[in-house]
């Protein structure tokens, strides 16, 4: 069984991470009735018997003593991590997994990447190695961070680079939270564009998430639940942490729960059994046709399930249709209007292959696929449903609609950059030069251009493609 390590960087990364661990424990508690430390648990947790030394792990099959998360928490200010350590999840982490500083990065990518990156390089690598050594077979690193801030974007992308240098054969899946238009950080366009260059070059695949989409989804669910006649189950909506460890709901918890659910869903097939397993290394393999085009648009359905069991469950086919609608995507995009390069459908719960095939046949004519991959579907079936649902679906699409997000980012960047506003804060940091900005901008431009070029091939078949040279 393979293990994965979660690296959470910055305030956003740690808050999402906190929700992730809470919901993961809730999910496993729901399924694991015997209290045995099974293979599924071992993918994210170590089982530590504290009567012996605190680093000794109990192997699979034994009773659960104390679960420790396979995680590294990094933040340049102490507030968030301290809150985690004082909350109900304090026993899930031990001190060797944490790295904090006092003053924060000041919303400055350069401070995060250059200053703290160099200062803490050895310590970060050391902590990562320790956690990796506890894994029998490490398959994947999940990096969670935001693009707008200083630590998340700067130090986060520095950590990504370190992961590539130190563990080159381990897959790196990055969940990046992109700032919304009315972001509270003024320099977020600079931070995001500088971070984008690193993501394009060093990540295996990126799951971009936009705050605005999360807000919209949360509002929709709340509007529905607010109605007197609504019968949505409390614990089933993807924004709810009901049944988890944390008592009250903090601000942003609802939005963070969506991202946490996304990660849980993606790893479900690797943890639990199913009739068509999909391991984590199959995601980049199938969905990334060219190395730089590794941005996968996620969408999760259903958003909630009904509490009244006498009502028929929402039709399965509706779930498939919803997954491709623009309201359900986690970035502001319209995938049906753009071009699909590849698409993966991960189903959980009580769904059969025939349902999957039927829906793929039904939806295929409505979705524009690129000419060299018209049957570009990857499917995974996991038999264990998430908490509160009978079945659910995660769609990961490599779609050219991401270029809209990047174009908007570039526009906001150019507004500031033309005036050279706030630039001096970055240039004062040792190691950062003007050229970093122009390189980052050109990297973003070329990425947008690549997606644009593919978009232009929509509805066309390119004739006379050159023959593959390896056939003799």
């Amino acid at each position: 069984m393979t293990q994965s390590i979660v690296v959470q960087v910055g305030q956003c990364g740690n808050q999402i991470g906190c929700r992730f661990w809470d919901l993961a424990l809730r999910e496993h508690a729901n399924i694991n009735k015997k209290g045995l430390y099974d293979e599924a648990l071992s993918s994210f947790f170590r089982n530590v018997d504290s009567r012996r030394s605190c680093r000794s792990s109990v192997s699979v099959g034994g009773r659960i003593h104390q679960l420790k998360a396979r995680a590294v928490l990094v933040d340049m200010e102490e507030g968030v991590v301290n809150q985690i350590l004082q909350g109900p999840l304090r026993d899930v982490f031990d001190n060797t997994q944490l790295l904090t500083d006092v003053s924060g990065s000041g919303n400055n990518w350069a401070v995060g990447y250059m200053t703290y990156g160099s200062a803490y390089r050895e310590q970060i690598v050391d902590k990562l190695r320790k956690v990796a050594e506890d894994c029998d077979c490490l398959q994947c690193f999940f990096l969670i961070h935001s693009m707008g801030g200083g630590t998340g974007s700067g130090l986060g992308t520095r950590v990504l680079r370190l992961l590539e240098d130190e563990f080159p054969e381990v897959c790196r899946i990055v969940t990046s939270v992109y700032p919304s238009e009315e972001d509270d950080v003024v320099t977020s366009p600079y931070n995001s564009v500088l971070a984008m260059k690193e993501l394009s070059e060093h990540a295996d695949c990126v799951l971009p998430v936009e705050n605005q989409s999360l807000v919209n989804i949360v509002n929709r669910i709340r509007r529905y639940s607010g109605k007197a006649w609504s019968g949505a189950r409390m614990d089933s909506s993807i924004i709810s942490g009901h049944g988890g460890l944390s008592a009250g709901e903090k601000p942003f918890d609802a939005m963070n729960n969506i991202v946490a659910n996304l990660l849980l869903h993606m790893t479900s097939s690797a943890r639990f059994q199913g009739s068509l397993n999909m391991d984590l290394n199959e995601i980049p393999m199938n969905l990334v046709p060219f190395p730089r085009l590794h941005y996968l648009v996620p969408s999760l359905t259903p958003l909630y399930s009904l509490a009244d069991v006498s009502m028929p469950p929402r039709r399965l086919d509706q779930m498939f249709s919803d997954a491709f609608s623009k309201e359900q995507q986690l970035i502001e995009a319209e995938p049906k209007r753009c071009l699909y390069l590849a698409c993966a459908l991960l189903l959980r719960g009580d769904v059969a292959v025939s349902d999957l095939q039927r829906n793929i046949q039904r939806l295929r004519p409505t979705l524009p696929f690129v000419w060299w991959n018209r049957e570009g579907w990857k499917a995974g079936l996991c038999s264990v449903p998430p908490v509160g649902h009978n079945h659910s679906l995660l769609a990961l699409a490599n779609n050219t609609c991401v270029k809209a997000t990047f174009s908007r980012l570039k526009e906001r960047f150019m507004k500031l950059y033309r005036k050279k506003a706030h630039l001096h804060h970055y240039l004062h940091v040792e190691g950062l030069e003007q050229s970093s900005f122009s390189e980052a901008l050109s990297s973003l431009n070329s990425l947008i251009a690549e997606y644009q070029q593919l978009d232009m091939t929509k509805d066309k078949v390119m004739p006379n493609a050159p023959r593959l040279g390896i056939a003799t």
Binding site: M1, T2, E39, D136, C137, Q139, F272, Q273, S275, L276, N277, D279, N281, E282, M285, N286, L287, A342, A352, V353, S354, D355, Q357, I360, Q361, R364, N373, E375, G376, W377, K378, A379
Partner: protein
């Protein structure tokens, strides 16, 4: 005369599990089918000193979930199980050293046979383990047992994709296998799915319903008397249909005139050789004469062996 099955990857292990289940049920307990039952068991199972039947199989996968599931399911059937030492699960890190465990387990199974009839690797061509490791294992088996008969059973993926790179994997697999294997038996997910939904009226098709091949074909001819069954079979062969429903009765084999002139014949099955197996009562009265005079590619070559 025994057959050793090698189950590779998720698909191979799932199909293999159902196969042994069907064989075990088909062989039955004894009684008036005693010789058949003993022969069937001997061919596919090894009887331990406790009288339990252990499948002559090697299970190979790169992660343990499916194999564990197969092992528990087999034990639950009560009639047979997999041997403890028949498993080879390699973590990703060790995968580069090759399935040496598989080689060892394979050799052990073969040595337990009195007489080896052949080897049967079961795998899919779409995935990574089944196709890649499967081809490698077939190569190792061919190197270790050069004179053995090898029948590869392949599962062909759905046309609309289960895996996006399935086309690469399939082509790479076939390019190696056609040189290594003595025979390749292909079953297509699309066809089997259609049979399940149209003929067997199964609405909710899971992989457990798709896999028991033997049952499908037994079922499809169940209702007819043997004579009528052979007539249907003949036309299915000629028109290259895989299901009884929707047979095109208009298609017929080309006459000598058409063939010598090289005139095009549509939808007509071009096969070099066919094997017909008839089971059940009154087998000897089956009118197989209708199948005798079918010339497909080579005139003078009787392509139907009985």
């Amino acid at each position: 005369m025994s057959v050793v099955t090698v189950q590779l990857g998720q698909c191979g292990n799932q199909v293999g599990l159902e196969l042994f289940d069907v064989i075990s049920n088909d062989a039955g307990e004894g009684g008036h089918r005693k010789t058949y039952s003993t022969a069937s068991h001997e061919r596919f199972f090894h009887q331990t000193t406790n009288g339990e039947f252990e499948a002559r199989a090697v299970l190979i996968d790169m992660e343990p979930k499916v194999i564990n599931h197969s092992m528990t399911k087999a034990v639950r059937s009560g009639k047979w199980r997999y041997g403890e030492k028949s498993i080879s699960v390699k973590s990703r890190v060790l995968a580069t050293t090759g399935p040496m465990g598989g080689g060892g387990a394979g050799r052990r199974e073969v040595e337990r046979c009195d007489r080896l009839a052949g080897l049967m690797p079961i795998m899919s061509v779409a995935g990574g383990t089944g196709s890649g490791v499967g081809t490698f294992v077939t190569q190792c088996l061919r190197d270790s047992f050069p004179k053995s008969f090898m029948l590869n059973h392949l599962t062909w993926p759905y046309g609309t994709g289960e895996v996006i790179v399935q086309n690469y994997n399939s082509v790479l697999t076939l390019s190696k296998l056609y040189r290594l294997s003595d025979a390749i038996l292909v079953h297509e997910n699309d066809t089997v799915h259609r049979i399940c939904s149209q003929l067997l009226n199964i609405k909710h098709i899971t992989s457990a319903t798709r896999n028991p091949l033997g049952e499908l074909f037994i079922y499809s001819l169940q209702h007819f008397r043997l004579a009528r069954a052979t007539k249907h079979l003949r036309q299915m062969l000629v028109s290259n249909t895989k299901m009884e429903e929707g047979i095109d009765w208009q298609v017929r084999p080309p006459s000598d005139y058409e063939r010598t002139r090289g005139l095009p014949t549509h939808n007509f099955n071009r096969s070099l050789a066919n094997l017909l197996i008839v089971r059940g009562k009154d087998v000897y009265s089956a009118e197989t004469v209708v199948l005798k005079n079918l010339h497909f590619i080579l005139p003078g070559c009787h392509p139907v062996k009985l």
